[in-house]
Amino acid sequence: MGMWPRLFIVLAGFAVAGAATADALKSGARIEAGQLSARPATAAELKMDPGLRMAVERARESALRGLPLRSSPRFAALLGPASPFDLRLDDDARDPALSVFVRLESEQHAAGLTALGARVLVQRGELVLARIPLSRIEPVAEDAAVRALSLSRRWNAVLDSSRARLGVVDVQQGAGGLPQPYQGAGVIVGVLDSGIDYTHDDFRTPADKSRLKGLFDFSQGANGAECRVGQLDSLTCPEIDGSGAVGHGTHVTGIAAGNGRRNSIYVGMAPQADLLFVKGIRDAQSNGGFSDADIVNGVAWMLNRALVLGEPIVINLSLGGQFGAHDGTSLQEQFLDRFVGPGRIIVAAAGNEGRNPIHVSYVAQGTDYNSALESAWVLTGPVGVVDLWAPASTNMGVGIAVYNPSDPSAPVFISPTATAGQLRQVTAIANGTTIILGNLTIDALTTADPNNGARNVLVQVEQAPGGIDPATAIWSIYTTGSGTFDMWALAGSLFPTFSGAPAYFRPGDSDKTVGIPGTAKRILCVGSHVTKTQWVDIDGTLQTQPNATLDAISGFSSRGPSRDGRVLPNFTAAGEAIVSALSKDFPAERKNIALGGSYQKQQGTSQASPHVTGIVALMLQRDPALTPENARSILQQTAQAAGGGIPNNTFGYGRVRALAALQGTPDPLDCVTTLPGGALVRCDEAAAQPLALMAYPTPTTGSLRFRFVAPVRERVHLALYDLLGRRVRTLIDGVVEAGVQTPSWDGDDERGRSMPSGVYLAKLITPGATRSIRLVLAR
């Protein structure tokens, strides 16, 4: 089994090519496509960014040819609307000035710029924005007090860009024939994440009140603690979005629902939505991850709060993992599927494993190690885990081999296999030595998982006392017997892939890497595509997102399908170079902080998911009883096809389009009501009737919304009764503000017990009138 030397040769080849390129770049040599001769850049040119160098060089070329700048095709190309440069010839046509960011050695040198012909517009310390005539650029660059020059770019904020590219701006403006603008009013955006900088202006109202209607913090105390609205308003809630998670939750929430109060360029998808937030990490500084149980409990908390607030809710989960069956049957996913319904929708990120070979699937064969197929397994730490799932009918054994990296021609250890119903626990010791390689566990006890009936094998390697670091050896998983299976490498480990491998070697891939809970059956799963490739940092420097092509899938975006064959993700949204709210508790790198501060650039399906979350909030504003299935169907049907045949396991149904989705979101025509005289009419026909009590949808499966208008601030009693007149549930008993009221009923009685199918009576009592309506609960 001499495959390893080939692998090392392939990898070494990449390293050599990379080094040559780096050396060329370090030398300052110019490398341009099609250029036969090259000269080294001057010291002044090296201080300029590429855009400025290009402008100066093309101006020089125009002068040599005696062409006016406007008539020079190569210079004129920099002036067009598609140019990223803020180049305007609006003052002196012979020697136009450019807007240039200048970084000086110290702030005292600004006066020197003026002497060189520059006009200083703004100065902040050593950073200056100046207008500099083209002819004076090089003299300025040659000045010893000048460290760097960067041409001012014409740029759009990235979040603003993704709003436009996804069609959200049109929806927020009520364009495209929509009956009104939709900005998320009356809808709750819930987020469970690392934490939130709830003090950020974008999460406060124009009146400087918190937009959060509640916050639960699992890092407080043994079981978490809640911050109420008063604490959030007065900025006395102790919760922070600590540096351990790079301000993830703040960023995600800003995408879904930031209102751009700090900077109107960075408006999120649903800027008028109310917010609920759960800090799901149990560390105040946001180090670590999320427990399945806390995810379930946190989501349940938000749903209960939404019920009390009487608003529909969409919850964002920009989190996940690969441990589990990948078929939607994990208990976490079963919980989430059970939680959703009309007016209650969950959106999850697909995962960021699109570049990582963590998955292997093939048909097992052979009777022992020598006749088996195997996959190399590279560990990155002292623990490695593989989770293997197969149909219960599969008849296979799973074993482990270990290779010495310095002589990988033959294994130094081969474990026996574990077959169905067996548990192997052994300490691996290298043949003929006392070198302890690690403690191995192959747990194949689960022959029929209670949730999906499948076989499950857990393989685990741990460092043994007195043993080597397992990451320094090469591990391999081999399988005997028959049957198809899928396995995932966890804890940072990989199944490496390389060309020229022998036939018995099965490399890893990134198929079926949509994580959990992305594989849940009733939640919306979002991959990432590129809507922007550049941004301007806080120093005015144009930064470029690596490996990003406009409209292409993000390389990191996890691929489907689910293990049970469902196409995933459902669709994609903007997930690269996204600028959104920056937590005050995370010291981001300057290159990732957007010009003006308070916002930072991040990327991931974590960023794609809240774009869809916000769009769903807009859809819920249009139809508060929208179901998750309908939301998914509308978003799929209106998506811009991409990735070949539709659907596919890269883009799903394509790139989401918010305007088309809102146009495709029907008014709730299944909403009916009785007028005071008893006539049954559609809700939209009755909407103008004060004190009309509406309920929709009806029949309901257990999630029903009421709607009535309180003409003034008044005391209201709304309760449900069975046909024997027994009160089932009191929904409102108190004073409500004037305006539209939309309380919900989840189908439970006062004690939280699910009520059986049947006919119920809702009665609304106000000081001036009593209204009632019959409902049908059909479970």
Binding site: S194, A300, N352, P450, F556
Partner: protein, 109 residues
């Protein structure tokens, strides 16, 4: 070997061992076993599923068996269970599945 390992997890009877093997997922079994080996007596966070809705009587039985319930939705529940009492909970006839509460991460590339 199998009975010894599983028995270490709960320190109890063969019936518990069989229940753990058939109802607990592999990560939960390994977690319980690891805690037993290390002499740890703490609680394990789990997600569980019963064969039907969990009513007050079932909640009472789960609590008696050692489950500190957090969330109950129809037949699903989350709970903390002392490692040594895992077998008690798994042995309840209406409990069909117990899974270790896994840690999930933020989705940053």
């Amino acid at each position: 070997m199998l009975l010894i390992v599983a028995g270490m997890a709960c320190g109890c009877r063969d019936a518990d061992v069989k229940a753990i093997e058939s109802k607990c997922d592999a990560p939960l079994r390994q977690q319980a076993e690891g805690m037993a080996r290390a002499g740890e007596t703490g609680a394990i966070e789990v997600l569980g599923r019963a064969d039907g809705p969990i009513d007050a009587a079932r909640m009472h039985r789960l609590a008696e068996a050692g489950a500190d319930l957090s969330q109950v939705t129809d037949e699903l529940f989350t709970a903390r269970i002392p490692a040594r009492r895992l077998g008690n909970v798994a042995r309840l006839e209406f409990v069909k599945s117990l899974q270790l509460s896994q840690e999930r991460g933020l989705l940053k590339p």
